[in-house]
Symmetry: C2
Subunit: 268 residues, 2 copies
Amino acid sequence: MNERGRLFVESVERGFAVLRAFQGRESLSLAELAVEAGITKSAAQRFTHTFEMLGYLRKDAAKRWRLTPRTLEIGTFYLASDPLIERANPHLVDLNHACGESVNLSEPDGTEMVYLARFTANRRSFIHMPIGTRIPMFCAASGRAFLATLPREKALAIIERTAMTAFTARTLTDVNAVMAKVDEARERGFASAVEEFYVGDLNIASAVIGADGTALGAVNISCPTSRWSIEAMEAELAPRLIEAVRSISSGGYLVRQTNNNQWERTGQ
Amino acid sequence: MNERGRLFVESVERGFAVLRAFQGRESLSLAELAVEAGITKSAAQRFTHTFEMLGYLRKDAAKRWRLTPRTLEIGTFYLASDPLIERANPHLVDLNHACGESVNLSEPDGTEMVYLARFTANRRSFIHMPIGTRIPMFCAASGRAFLATLPREKALAIIERTAMTAFTARTLTDVNAVMAKVDEARERGFASAVEEFYVGDLNIASAVIGADGTALGAVNISCPTSRWSIEAMEAELAPRLIEAVRSISSGGYLVRQTNNNQWERTGQ
């Protein structure tokens, strides 16, 4: 019996460790896989055999293991069952069309935002970012827009348990500096981030509010520094962004923050 | 010891059965989950506890189980590691821009095509089809384009082991009729499908060929019947589609089929 309790199925955890070993790796030998997953080579043999039978792994011509498209299956069930995506899609298309720039929908998970829908600029310059990509909340406009909907101490707690890696020279890694951006987002109704995750990438984002008044996720617009300044995005694109998230937010309610940092429904 | 051999880890299979139970379901009670996954209620309790600890399942306010965005993780590793997607993306953007209609990249898996990249029409009319969506090869233009690159008997074997469901009134469910479409695709270098999976949806597709001469996947263009006829797509869009798949195909080689149904490299 371990800390996870007597109900915990260890072999499921080890199985997922085998699949998660492929993060950032195109293929792995059995020995590499065992090291990455922290299991013995004979355990790795059992799991690779099992995943090959189930269709999640295959051996390539060089006898190295690779993930298969089957690994997308469970996530696809999630995407198909998430009512927010379907509700948001027409508004995301409209926003993408109106701005001519990339528009994304993301949901919170732990200390990160997970990107769930994406409509790219009709240009080659967009960043390749598959559905399911995760970006830490602290340095993403989407994450800051979500954090701004939480009570301030909850937002602070999330930031404090995040490893604040500097992804670019412009990433804010000081807790107070990040909280100042979250506070600014709460006041303005949208958040911004200037080249904090990718060089050359500017973002503004605003939160989608659910029927119970809590945030379900965020919509962000991503623009390249070659075509936009953050000031121009805030002036020209933020009003459209806010209109879109209000249309997506549940029950047709508009939302606005009150003086004590809580969101409030207004009108129908 | 079962038919899967002594190395097979049963609890991994049962764990995935629990996650796969969410196909087409937004949430499941513990009892429903046990029935769907074909396991006892106490086994379902162990697996849901385990997946909750690992972050793949959560209990909602009504005490029903739901998938979380974490279920996208392994699939995202696959998408990020697949060299075809990155190589194809700029060409898919160009094709999408040139056509103004939805453009998709898919890969074969068993008897289905799995959709891996998607650039939608800048209009609300597109069909909501998340990355990871699977469509049977027999009734999809992308599937027929892929089947046309295989030796004819292999293509026939795939079709013969498929449950040929009629998704619309226009789905071809006769083996000979489908094989005639595959033969036509082999001759023309692209395949077509007219409202066979979704009513109102027209498709043409062509296969992407890898460095070893075998097909890696297919690119398809999807148009609504409100704006296009299949004849107009074949005349106006097919040449652009073929140009795009040739640019994506490995090593800059052009490919064309020979008289004995094999593909052949030309040029470079």
